[in-house]
């Protein structure tokens, strides 16, 4: 039988960190329970057989020059703009 992983608090925190989501402490038990139920039910997929993805088409876009939308258009929906550029939040401590 395939092993059933346990969604413990440590794993939940790791997943939330990877997904850039914050889980409030009072929501953790419920979320843990839900994810555990799904993972337990999905753990019995057959491990034999081949995923024949080689035969699937993997088309590429033609490598041709085109005119992209102007900078103004691209920046229209930005959260914050300065001097025609996206303002990116600080991710490292100063």
């Amino acid at each position: 039988m395939p092993q059933q992983p346990t969604i413990d608090q440590h794993l939940l925190h790791r997943l939330a960190g990877l997904a850039r989501l914050r889980i409030e402490p009072d929501q953790e038990p419920e979320l843990q329970r839900r994810l555990q139920a799904i993972v337990a039910a999905f753990a019995d997929l057959p491990t034999d057989g081949e995923a024949d993805t080689d035969g699937l088409p993997l088309p590429l876009r033609p490598d041709t020059a085109s005119t992209p939308p102007g900078i103004d258009v691209v920046l229209t929906n930005a959260a914050q703009v300065a001097d025609g550029q996206f303002v990116v939040p600080r991710v490292l401590d100063a």
Partner: protein, 486 residues
Amino acid sequence: MSASLAGTAADLATRIRRGDCSAREVTAACLERIAAHDGGLRAFVGVAAERALRAADRIDDRRARGEALGALAGVPIAWKDNLLVEGELATAGSRILEGFRAPYTATALARLERADAVLLGRTNLDEFGMGSSTESSAHGPTRNPVAPHLVPGGSSGGSAAAVAAGFCPIAIGSDTGGSVRQPASFCGVTGLKPGYGRVSRFGLIAYASSLDCVGAIARTAEDLALWLDAVAGRDDADPTTLPDAPPVFDRVVAGRDLRGLRVLAPREWHADGIDGEVLRRTEQARSQLAALGAAVGEGRLPAARHAVKAYYLLATGEAASNLARYDGVHFGPRRAAAGIDPTTATRTWGFGREVQLRILLGTFALSYGYSEQFHDAAERARAALRADFARAFERCDLVVAPTSPIPPFPIGETETDPLRRYLVDALTVPASLAGLPALSLPCGTTADGRPIGLQLIAPAGKEDVLLRAAHVFQLATTHHLARPIA
């Protein structure tokens, strides 16, 4: 109902081309009907009234100048709010796209405009297409025109409700695991998911890119054939689109009987876990297919028993990746919160509960130590299902099944256990995983009047066979003619 809105989209376009009525008259009638009835239903999250009337006037002017008009001349069409129309809002039913205005138009909608359709407005959906009831939308739920206490299905619930309420003859949706077919079934209308790659996804806000398909909802298969011919075909902006295929409309409407058509009903899909009334109605529909000349037999699709698991692992993995772009930098508002970075603060604020759950599940399925047992196993299950369908289509032309194992349920009573909720998709996800064209058409109701849909699934590239069979069924039946709002 206004006389100008009666009949099919095909009839409407013919009348407008002939000058029996104007495009403005028809568009104005749709807008009036929406104003009168959508307050209680909320099929639309935004009506593009001025844009639509301007487009209608341009069509009328061109007709007045003697120019030839397209196949969808003056036909008002709504679009699901996860497709882009330049200059219009596009929210995908999520707070995280609050205020987002599309910088370009989706190919599937640009081609409708090229065929002289009138784009009417944006319809409600489950957030990012993740749901089966349209209750997870940041805009609030949509109600089913058949009975307002019921959900319209989802995720294209707004589009299905718009057609069922008679707001427009065609509404565009998207179908990742059943999001066109299931709401069509719940609202008593007809919904088509073309095969993967038949219609461009350029300008469709991505949920799960290997499964997402642009589809449409209408009253009749005839109108869906008209729609498909207008939008299908190669698009360099979406490298996964298939080469152009011959148009289907003439072959579809020429259908008069089903002689020579072989239909297979998988035993697994007509058994335990399916509501009794759904079983009875779909079995009656199978008998009607046989009475129309089809050879209906039973068969098996054993790998389908893993379809829901495979679907949710693959779809959520792709969603976790696709939704990484909502980082509080490129699109939508940015949020701040004490002690966490702005990206985490924005995503935690902007995504609803179901979307967050699916992102976490997808992150798990793809993460180190688990991807082989979950994501890779799901890929193998998908390959096994494709092989099952290939074997089945060696001895049949269509697979038939109920669209949903249950009829529409009341708003607010959606199962809170996610596992049981996901199992409701058991009959629609197999065609999605295999990339096959599939359709839902009305085949009756429960004793208390809730619509039931029949699903047909065709081999890749056989949308014409699918639509023709549905058209013949609709010539012989009246289920699709019911109008819940006079």
